[in-house]
């Protein structure tokens, strides 16, 4: 008995019962489509989070001034303002794995141009800040070290600020007031979108940290420092070196708590990625349940079908079908149904992910591997749930089966 003959026999049997074959397939179609869609949504969300994390820059290490407790009440991160510009300089000079370092100071301010005003975040940074953040300009230039040394009144503004103050106009060369100080706009940042926390990263005014600290804020302490490690593999080693340097500089000994926090991009990525990963697993698990239910549907209908087709089985055995030929026929029928169902399910799943992306604006990402896995899984469902009914059919006694009404 040739394998091709089994496929022909099974194919004929399925064609004889088109409606039943379609209904059986439906469970698998819906199951696979649900898995593909949810996995696409999950993968899309993860990709978005990853893009946001990448927008932080490359190999970034963030140092925040730590919390201090006064009389038992603890302030938040940065409340103590324990960091200084000298700390930043020391990190750049003494930690070997650090490629670049910039003080990072922020204060909310009102910006004014003509009769327009906008409330935004003034960020005081070093001249190399945009390299650390991997952030291109759309117009003009970034300020340099000479501007920082001179506490120059120059600003590079984000797209949101441009929109609010200038509308469609070109901001470069214009003078805006930051707080009450006039600043010359020398550049505009390219759009960056939302951060991991959902903040608009384009709603900023970038000025030299010296200008911010002296001219606007009047402080000598830093909220934070942003550093860039030379190489991704060295990220955590560099993090440790920065920590020990800072403990030394701040004279923190033994088991005393740090008055600062050092976090790497990887750690931030892990925290943010975890949420979307859990969501994907949860959605996938729910969708898999529907796939299993689809499989049970196949088994159910195959069992009914075996009983209903008892006489057919008897006829086949009478003309010389062996037990394993019957087993193979029913198994091939089940697998054929689940494979065709799987293919249709993949098509439906891809279509519905696209629909979700278009209608709901969610980012979806359908990967080839998720389609392959769904396909293999549906074939496995066919084998698994088809085997019991097939075996039941193959063990029938031909005389009993022929007599069955």
């Amino acid at each position: 008995m040739k394998p091709l003959a089994t496929v022909r026999i099974a194919g004929r049997a399925l064609r004889r019962n088109k409606l039943r074959s379609l209904l059986t397939m439906l469970g698998i179609v819906i199951g696979v489509a649900a898995v593909i869609t949810t996995v696409s949504i999950g993968a899309g969300a993860r990709a978005q989070v990853q893009a946001q994390i990448d927008s932080l820059g490359r190999n970034v290490i963030l140092i925040f001034s730590g919390s201090v407790s006064r009389g038992g009440a603890r302030g938040g991160m940065g409340s103590a303002a324990t960091l200084t510009v000298e700390d930043a300089v020391a990190i750049g000079r003494e930690v070997p794995g650090v490629a670049a370092v910039s003080p990072d100071q922020r204060v909310p301010v009102q910006v004014i141009f003509g009769n327009q005003n906008w409330y935004t975040m003034a960020m005081g940074e070093g001249g190399n800040y945009l390299q650390i953040r991997q952030w291109p300009l759309s117009r003009g230039d970034m300020f340099g070290d000479q501007h920082v040394r001179a506490s120059a009144k120059v600003a590079v503004i984000g797209q949101t600020v441009t929109e609010q103050l200038f509308g469609e106009g070109d901001p470069v060369g214009q003078t805006i007031r930051v707080g009450n100080v006039p600043f010359l706009v020398i550049g505009e940042l390219a759009a960056k979108g939302n951060s991991v926390r959902g903040e608009d990263q384009d709603d900023i005014v970038l000025i030299p940290y010296t200008s911010l600290m002296r001219r606007i804020q009047g402080t000598t302490n830093l909220r934070g420092i942003i550093a860039q490690a030379e190489d991704t593999g060295q990220l955590s080693a560099t993090q440790e070196q920065i920590t020990s340097l800072m403990r030394q500089r701040h004279r923190i000994s033994g088991t005393k708590e740090d008055d600062f926090t050092v976090r790497t991009q990887e750690e931030i990525a892990q925290t943010a990625g975890e949420t979307s990963r859990i969501m994907t697993v949860l959605l996938g698990a729910i969708a898999s349940v529907s796939l299993v239910v689809g499989g049970i549907g196949i088994m159910n209908i195959m069992l009914v079908s075996v009983t209903e087709r008892t006489r057919e089985i008897g006829i086949r055995m009478a003309v010389g079908a062996k037990g394993h030929a019957i087993l193979l026929q029913f198994l091939v029928e089940a697998i054929t149904l689940s494979i065709i169902g799987g293919v249709l399910g993949i098509a439906l799943g891809v279509a519905s992910s696209k629909l979700v992306a278009i209608r709901m604006g969610w980012p979806t990402l359908t990967s080839f591997s998720s389609a392959v896995i769904a396909f293999l899984f549906s074939a496995a469902v066919g084998v698994f749930f088809g085997f019991y009914p097939a075996r039941k059919a193959s063990l029938m006694d031909p005389i009993e089966a022929l007599r069955y009404e």
Partner: protein, 256 residues
């Protein structure tokens, strides 16, 4: 093998069914030889053991005791799969209820035994052979009809074509005319006689003495034993009978 060599040789066949504590002896020592080219009607009342005999002859069941030689081969000790091969290659079945696959064309029904065979026929060779078999039973123009589009007699012809598909040594018919009217029954008997005249051995179980008279030889069973085994003295010829039936009908039309 000369024509006198038996196709079927049964030696003291016994079949006992165990139902709970009760043992039922359905066949109690049957010895029978059927030669090549014979046409045997196996008769007897319900429960006389001829159904069990039929199952054993058709290799659907094994005898509890005794030996069964089919075409010289001892098949009484074969297992399930070996019996399936014998059924496929050496035996063609015709049933009372036709037993065709529903919603399946006549030609696909006839192809069925070839699908399970060991031969190396290609799909198109199988199709040709099935078409020839259907042609032989007079249904060459209905090969794509499904069973429900065919009359009872036509369905039985499809079943006979299916039985002939693998060129068997033995055609085994279990009450082939049980569901058919007189005219159609005679037509089917005509087909059996024609096939028999071409050398196919036919064994047929029937309750109807009229039908049994189309065979060459009648074997009558009672209580699991053969009580009579005789050559049919005045054998009916189906072609002749059909002619008489037609005449009778014409008479009925003329004389209301």
């Amino acid at each position: 093998m000369s024509p006198e060599d038996p196709v079927i040789s049964l030696e003291d066949i016994r079949k006992t069914y165990v139902m709970g504590d009760v043992e039922v002896q359905a066949v109690r020592g049957v010895t029978l030889r059927i030669s090549r080219g014979d046409f045997v009607a196996l008769m007897g009342a319900r429960g006389s053991g001829q159904s069990s005999m039929m199952n054993i002859l058709g290799c659907l069941d094994r005898p509890t005791e005794g030996r069964y030689f089919l075409g010289g081969e001892d098949v009484s000790g074969l297992d399930r799969n070996e019996l399936a091969e014998i059924r496929n290659e050496k035996i063609g079945f015709v049933f009372q209820g036709f037993n065709l696959l529903p919603r399946t064309s006549a030609i696909e029904n006839v192809e069925l035994p070839m699908l399970y065979g060991r031969s190396d026929l290609t799909a198109s060779e199988q199709r040709d052979r099935a078409a020839r078999a259907l042609d032989m039973v007079g249904l060459g123009d209905r090969i794509h009809h499904e069973p429900k589009q065919l009359s009872g007699g036509q369905q039985q012809r499809v079943a006979i074509a299916r039985a002939l598909a693998n060129d068997p040594a033995l055609l085994l018919a279990d009450e082939p005319t049980g569901n058919l009217d007189t005219q159609t029954s005679v037509e089917i008997m005509g087909l059996f006689q024609e096939l028999n005249s071409r050398g196919i051995t036919v064994v047929m179980v029937t309750h109807e003495p009229d039908i049994a008279r189309f065979a060459r030889r009648n074997v009558v069973m009672r209580d699991g034993c053969i009580i009579r085994d005789e050559v049919v003295a005045r054998r009916l010829d189906a072609a002749q009978e059909l002619g008489q039936l037609r005449e009778a009908r014409q008479m009925a039309e003329v004389v209301p």
